[in-house]
Each structure stands twice: as structure tokens, then as C-alpha cells.
């Protein structure tokens, strides 16, 4: 029983990270049809900036400083990417994807040049470093922080998309961008906003991944990105609830399978993906293919 609780908590913690990365990815893809290969790089940038802040201000202040710095860094680099790279290539969707591929290669290499190839240890403040006792299972406290933040983001995004005018424009843009433009609404502003929002979530994920692992390394974002892609494919692009459900499924399957046999976890995620693709005759947007 304790094992099940521990695996579930770890799986949900991972799911939280996947959700943070995949929600931005999914909105960007849903709205702009841009598969953002630089998203993993945003995660890494957030992680390193957060680590630097936490390194200078230790303790609880350092933790909150790191979270804020990670969010700010992720949002800033994402907004910069949208402005400098994505926007000039408007109308050339393939080139947009290719440009993000280039950034996805270059940015982690740049991080490696600045902070070195070796992973940097992240010291978690004392109250977060311990474990919480649930029915005899000692679950690391960081997991709850991850899950809490992801749930908050899910609720926040649902409210933002469902209850505000900006959210309405984004949802309408996901459905039919041309029609929204025809109604006289400038979708490009929504593009920038969604990119910055996705980048903020990615930067936050970078900091949380650092806390989760107790270290940051240049390749972190890329490894998260691949599973985030799987989550986007399973959850359906542009759907926040679908993304959340898919993230939970992927996180749990991965943890349970990993317990059965080491390295089986990642394989089982891909098998899950293949099975869903075979059984479902729908494309990414959830419309019949």
C-alpha cells in the first residue's frame, strides 16, 4: 500500500511537470499551429535563472525568488522568441517550426556555455526537503508543491479561457483563426500573450523540475519536452482539460511501469501513445481525421 501511495504521488508530481510544459505547448499549437521545439529550452532557461537566484538568496526567500525569476525568465524569452523569430515568419508555418528547432538546439548549448555541462545541485529549504507521512508512506514534500502549483495553473487557465474576453479570443482562435481575424480582432496580440503565458509556465516548470530532481542540467528541458509532446498528442491540442488528463495518465503509467521494471516506464508511455493512435481515428484537434 505504501508503495502504491508513493508511486501515485511521484506519478502525480511528474504529471504536474508535464502539465506545466504541455499546457503552453498545447495552447501555442492549437492557436498558431506552431509546434514549438524551443519550449524545452524555455524550461531550461527558467530552471537556470531560478537556480542562480536561489543560489544567491538561500532559504525560503530564495525559493520564492527562484519561482518568480523562473516565471519571468520563461515569459521573457518566450515573448522575445515570438516577437523576433515567430512573427516575422508569419505565413510560413514550416519555417516557424524549423526556426524553433534551431533555437531548441542553440539555447541549451548556450546555457551549457554559461553554466557548464555538469548538473548544478539545488539546495531545497528545510521545510520543503522533508517528507510527509500518508498512511505510512513517506512522500517527499516537493511533490505536493508541484501538484499544488499545477492544479492552481489548471484552475487559473480554465478561468482565464472560460471567463475572460482574452480567453474567449484564444478559444475562438483555436477553433478558427481566419474567422476571428475576419471579425476584426487582432489575433496576433493573442499569439504574443499565449506565447508569453506558455513560456511562463515552462519557466516555472524548469524551477520545479530543479526542485524535484535537486539539480539542474542543460538537457532537462529537452527530456521533459518529449513527454510533453506525447501529452499534447494524447490530450488534443488547444484543450486544457484534455492536456491535464493526459498528463496524469502519462505520469502515472510511467511511474507504475518503472516500478515493475526499470526503464520500462518511458517505453510504456510510447506504447500507450501507439495504442491510442491505433484505436482513435481522430486528428490532433479532436476532429475526425
Amino acid at each position: 500500500m505504501t508503495t502504491v501511495i508513493l508511486l501515485t504521488a511521484t506519478g502525480l508530481g511528474l504529471a504536474a511537470l508535464y502539465f506545466l510544459v504541455a499546457s503552453g505547448l498545447s495552447l501555442i499549437f492549437g492557436l498558431m499551429d506552431v509546434l514549438n521545439f524551443a519550449h524545452g529550452a524555455f524550461v531550461s532557461v527558467g530552471g537556470y535563472v531560478g537556480w542562480t537566484v536561489a543560489d544567491h538568496l538561500s532559504g525560503t526567500i530564495g525559493l520564492f525568488g527562484a519561482l518568480l525569476a523562473g516565471i519571468a525568465a520563461g515569459a521573457a524569452i518566450a515573448a522575445g522568441t515570438e516577437l523576433a523569430v515567430i512573427r516575422p515568419l508569419y505565413g510560413r508555418p514550416l519555417d516557424q517550426v524549423l526556426a524553433t528547432v534551431g533555437l531548441g538546439l542553440a539555447i541549451p548549448a548556450l546555457l551549457q556555455a554559461i553554466w557548464g555541462a555538469d548538473s548544478r545541485t539545488w539546495l531545497v529549504p528545510g521545510w520543503l526537503a522533508g517528507t510527509v507521512d500518508i498512511a505510512g508512506a513517506r512522500v517527499p514534500s516537493v511533490r505536493f508543491l508541484l501538484i499544488g502549483i499545477a492544479v492552481a495553473l489548471l484552475v487559473g487557465l480554465r478561468l482565464l479561457l472560460g471567463r475572460t474576453r482574452a480567453g474567449l479570443i484564444v478559444r475562438a482562435g483555436v477553433e478558427d483563426r481566419a474567422m476571428v481575424t475576419a471579425l476584426g480582432i487582432d489575433v496576433r496580440r493573442a499569439n504574443s500573450a499565449v506565447f508569453a503565458l506558455g513560456g511562463a509556465a515552462a519557466g516555472l516548470a524548469g524551477v520545479l523540475y530543479g526542485l524535484y530532481q535537486g539539480s539542474v542540467s542543460p538537457g532537462d528541458g529537452t527530456s521533459l519536452l518529449i513527454f510533453a509532446f506525447v501529452v499534447v498528442v494524447l490530450g488534443g491540442a488547444g484543450s486544457i482539460t484534455g492536456t491535464a488528463l493526459a498528463a496524469v495518465a502519462v505520469g502515472l503509467v510511467q511511474q507504475y511501469a518503472d516500478y515493475a521494471s526499470a526503464s520500462l516506464g518511458d517505453e510504456s508511455v510510447v506504447i500507450l501513445l501507439a495504442a491510442v493512435l491505433l484505436l482513435r481515428r481522430r486528428n490532433l484537434q479532436g476532429r475526425p481525421a
Binding site: 515568419l89 519555417d95 548556450l110 509532446f229 491505433l278
Partner: protein, 353 residues
């Protein structure tokens, strides 16, 4: 002038001249200071060139998918890995000879491509890219941590020396490896060009231009995409085997997503869908990725202040940045800069002129 130019325009003649020049390269003792470390027939230089040739061949096989059929796969490294590792495992652990192992590796890769392509091609466009990326990651993890005694884990695995024919063994025989790499490039080029000129190749180009229209015409794009995927996979597996011979062992780096992305970089760098684009891109990338590592230790760079030195010592940073610039300012790639048409355009009007 016009006569020479006309002859140069004949594709097969141009190919013959280029490949013949490449064939005779190991006989030359010419030395190009600053570009290569020694004369052209030095083993180190030949090894570098051979890797460039293999990359060029792999780039053509990727271009068959990306530039010709319009399918963006991020799982191409799977088949390079397949060719490399199946051969190594059969030679080292099952005690097979090199040739049968290589043949089995090709068959295994073909079967894997049909299964993987069959599943992944059910989602179109960008979804296909994500799915193949996930499969590629699964293979990468399998190779690195699945069964270390079989694959050698992160270190990779040296190919059992006694299985390698004497003519391919040792520094003195680097020229033979170079010729094998060149033969591989020629096979890839002929296969892809031949396919491009055939009827299925025409359908593939039509899919690249407008998939919906192909469907409306009553053809099934799925089957043609699968054909392109399978042929590209077999060529990639062949490249994996040649690369294995060049390196003398299997390396898990070919299974990483960065390797597949570098194939995409090569194709776009050279010019997607252009006859010589992928070859030029593969050669340039192969040379750059190998020399930039050497360059990073050069005195000119280590003398620079730290802010500049750090990024310049990262080959991936330079290549990634160059790639973004190419996408921005030269969408046709290097070949496009020099006025090369896409193969579609060649067949559209170029043949008549």
C-alpha cells in the same frame, strides 16, 4: 562556354563528374592548409571526409521524406540506430559474420519502419512529427539503459575486431572506408533520384504540394508516404552500418533526438527537395560539426574574452544559430542560393528548356 554550361546542366553528367572527383580524392596528396589538418590522403582527413559522405547520404535519405514527400519525421535516427546496433549485437553477441549481420539489420529496420510508419502515419502533419519523436526517444532510452550488457549503455560498444575484414581494419585502410562511404552516398543519391523520376515519386511530390488534392484524385497518400518512409529507413539503416564501420563501434549518440534534428538541419541548410541540396548540406554540416570541435580548442578562440569564448566553443550553438539564420534569410538553403530548383520545379518546366 554555352556548350560546357549545357553539358553541366545534364544531371547525370554532373553527378558523374562530382562522384568521379570524390572517387579519386584519396589518390591526391594535395594539402589545403586551414581547411584540413594534412594532405588529402592522410588517414585523419579521409576519416573526416568519409563521415561527411555518410552524413550526406543520411541527409538524402531524410530529404526523401522531408523535401520530397513533405513528411517531417523526427524518428529517422531510429533506423540509423537500428542498422548500427543490430549489426553490432549480431556480430559481438551472436557471433555472426559482418555481412549477414548487416543484411539482417537492414531487414529488421525495414520491418520496424513498416510497423512504426504504419502507426505514426495515421496522424498527419505535425502530429506525425511529435509521435515519431516519442518513438525515437523510446529507442534512445532502450539503447542507453535498456540492456547495458547488450548495447553497452552510454559508452556504446566496440565492434568485435576479428569480424571486420582485414581490408577495412586499421588506419592504413582508411581509404577503403572512404570508398565504402562514397559508394553509400552514390547508392542513396541514385535511389532517391531514381524514385523522384518514377511515377510513385511523382505522387510523393504531389503529396508534398497538396495532399488533399492527391486524395481527391483517388490516390491513397498513406501508402505512398509509407513507401517513402520505408525506403528512407532502409537507406538510413545502411548509413548506420557504414557509420559503425567508420567509428569502429556503435555509439548511442545516433539515437538521440539531437541526431535526427541535425539531419533536418543538414537538409534545410543545403536546400530541401533540391537535387544537390541534401548532399551539400550533409557535407557542410559534417565538416562543420567535426571541425568546430577542433576549432573550439584553437588559440584564436581561447584568446577571446569569456563572454564570446563560451558560446563559440559550443558547436551546437553555432549550428543552431546558423540554422535559424538560414531559415530566415535563405529559405532555399545553400543550393537555393545558387539558383538550384526544387525537383518539383525541375520536372515542371526545367526539362523542356
Amino acid at each position: 562556354m554555352s556548350r560546357v554550361a549545357k553539358l553541366w546542366r545534364t544531371h547525370w553528367l554532373r553527378a558523374l563528374i562530382v562522384f568521379a572527383l570524390l572517387y579519386f580524392l584519396p589518390y591526391s596528396t594535395l594539402s589545403i592548409p586551414g581547411v584540413f589538418d594534412g594532405p588529402l590522403d592522410a588517414p585523419g582527413v579521409l576519416q573526416l571526409l568519409a563521415v561527411c559522405l555518410v552524413f550526406a547520404g543520411l541527409a538524402i535519405s531524410y530529404d526523401l521524406l522531408f523535401g520530397h514527400t513533405g513528411v517531417m519525421s523526427f524518428g529517422h535516427g531510429i533506423f540509423v540506430t537500428g542498422g548500427m546496433y543490430v549489426t553490432t549485437i549480431l556480430v559481438n553477441h551472436a557471433g555472426y559474420a559482418l555481412l549477414p549481420s548487416a543484411a539482417i539489420a537492414l531487414v529488421v529496420s525495414l520491418a520496424a519502419s513498416l510497423i512504426l510508419g504504419g502507426v505514426a502515419l495515421r496522424v498527419g502533419g505535425i502530429g506525425f512529427a511529435m509521435v515519431t519523436l516519442a518513438f525515437g526517444q523510446a529507442v534512445s532510452i532502450l539503447v542507453i539503459s535498456g540492456s547495458p550488457q547488450l548495447t553497452g549503455g552510454e559508452q556504446g560498444q566496440t565492434l568485435n575486431g576479428s569480424a571486420v575484414p582485414a581490408a577495412l581494419d586499421g588506419v592504413r585502410n582508411t581509404a577503403n572506408l572512404y570508398w565504402i562511404a562514397l559508394a553509400y552516398l552514390v547508392v542513396c543519391a541514385l535511389a532517391v533520384w531514381g524514385l523522384a523520376a518514377s511515377t510513385p515519386g511523382r505522387v510523393m511530390r504531389a503529396i508534398h504540394e497538396n495532399e488533399r488534392r492527391v486524395e481527391v484524385l483517388g490516390l491513397n497518400p498513406y501508402l505512398f508516404k509509407l513507401l517513402a518512409f520505408a525506403l528512407a529507413a532502409v537507406l538510413a539503416a545502411g548509413g548506420g552500418i557504414i557509420y559503425l564501420l567508420l567509428l569502429g563501434g556503435a555509439t548511442p549518440s545516433v539515437s538521440t533526438s539531437n541526431f535526427t534534428l541535425s539531419l533536418l538541419v543538414m537538409v534545410v541548410l543545403g536546400g530541401a527537395g533540391r537535387r544537390w541540396g541534401a548532399i551539400v548540406g550533409g557535407l557542410v554540416y559534417g565538416y562543420a560539426s567535426q571541425s568546430l570541435t577542433r576549432l573550439s580548442g584553437a588559440s584564436a578562440i581561447s584568446g577571446l574574452p569569456g563572454v564570446l569564448r563560451g558560446p563559440l566553443q559550443q558547436p551546437l550553438f553555432l549550428l543552431g544559430a546558423a540554422f535559424v539564420l538560414i531559415v530566415f534569410f535563405a529559405p532555399g538553403g545553400l543550393a537555393g542560393r545558387f539558383g538550384a530548383k526544387t525537383i518539383t520545379d525541375e520536372y515542371r518546366g526545367g526539362l523542356r528548356s
